[in-house]
């Protein structure tokens, strides 16, 4: 089976920005949402460095909040800069996927 790890790694930043743009949420919930959309069950070890990078770049902000169900959680939300970045991601992705689809569907260049 084709190993899609690298492809997923390249687009996870954009996917996480999309999720936190909808609602303030925490790491484990992000993993479950990604799983729901078919990205597979990722570990927190995979997404934590991404969340940290996005936060260092100012694309998301975070806050610890108490949970009624147990220990406190770190909640992430998108910033204005993050929204701009997400818009750029969508444009980039549309261009890339359209080029890829064209390549795959339009047959042989050399014909």
């Amino acid at each position: 089976m084709y190993d899609d790890t690298q492809i997923k790694k390249g687009i996870l930043d954009g996917c996480i920005l999309k999720i936190v743009s909808q609602q303030e949420t925490y790491g484990y919930e992000i993993i479950n949402i990604l799983d729901f959309y078919g990205f597979g069950k990722l570990s927190e070890g995979t997404i934590y460095p991404i969340l940290k990078r996005l936060q260092n770049k100012g694309f998301i902000s975070s806050e610890f909040k108490k949970s009624s169900l147990g220990p406190k959680r770190k909640y992430y939300r998108i910033t204005d800069t993050g929204m701009d970045q997400f818009d750029k991601f969508v444009v980039m992705w549309n261009n890339t996927s359209s080029s890829l689809n064209k390549l795959l569907e339009e047959g042989d260049y050399f014909e």
């Binding site: 484990y28 570990s43 927190e44 934590y48 460095p49 260092n56 220990p71 959680r73 770190k74």
Partner: protein
């Protein structure tokens, strides 16, 4: 609670296995000269991650994946590092603290023998404390990095053995340079200096611990 007390408080709720994984991760990350605030943030994030995993019946190892070193390296790559100046300053401050403690020990030992004597701080003493300091720095740096690979905390027998060798090497140098006098100081003067620098700090820490335990 301040942020460090909060970390200590949260750590108490970690299961032994998770605390060990957490400690090994922190050991490894702390050898990479991250800014203090950055390190604190990571500590807090990992503890909270571990506590939430515990609540779901998972372990910290389960959620960080099969390669903890890779996990740490990714975090380190995304973290702000200390400047070269700050790194140098930290080493100098710690070295001076080590010299301070060493002088206090030497003079107090001599005080037991004769309270009125002038004790001499020699080049041998200085070389002994500097070499011992850097040897232990190197030893702990190496062991902290290795902890994540061996998945065990320090092997205390190994640390003890290596520490003993370090002391012996330094002691040989101490004896060789013992007669080169650097300065002389009266024990009473030293007692006042020691009291003013170390004792208030100790009392403050003891008070803080009592306060934390009472909360």
């Amino acid at each position: 609670l301040n942020k460090y007390e909060e970390i200590e408080d949260l750590k108490k709720h970690l299961l032994y296995k998770n605390r060990e994984t957490y400690t090994n991760i922190l050991f490894y990350i702390s050898t990479h000269n991250l800014k203090d605030d950055e390190l604190y943030g990571i500590e807090m994030d990992i503890i909270v991650m571990a506590l939430n995993a515990q609540q779901r019946g998972d372990s910290l190892s389960d959620i960080i994946g099969e390669n903890p070193k890779e996990f740490c390296n990714q975090i380190i790559a995304e973290s702000k590092k200390k400047s070269t100046f700050t790194k140098f300053k930290d080493i100098v401050v710690n070295l001076f603290l080590a010299i301070d403690i060493y002088i206090v020990i030497v003079f107090l030992v001599n005080a037991l023998i004769d309270i009125n004597q002038l004790t001499v701080f020699t080049l041998g003493h200085l070389i002994f404390v500097i070499i011992t300091f850097f040897e232990f720095e190197f030893l702990f740096h190496y062991l902290k990095k290795e902890a994540i690979i061996t998945k065990h905390r320090f092997n205390y027998t190994t640390v003890g053995f290596l520490g003993l060798i370090i002391i012996i090497i330094s002691a040989v140098l101490l004896v060789n340079f013992y007669n080169i006098k650097l300065f002389e100081i009266n024990l009473w003067l030293l007692g006042i200096v020691a009291f003013m620098t170390i004792v208030p700090k100790l009392l403050f820490n003891i008070g803080k611990n009592i306060k934390t335990q009472n909360l």
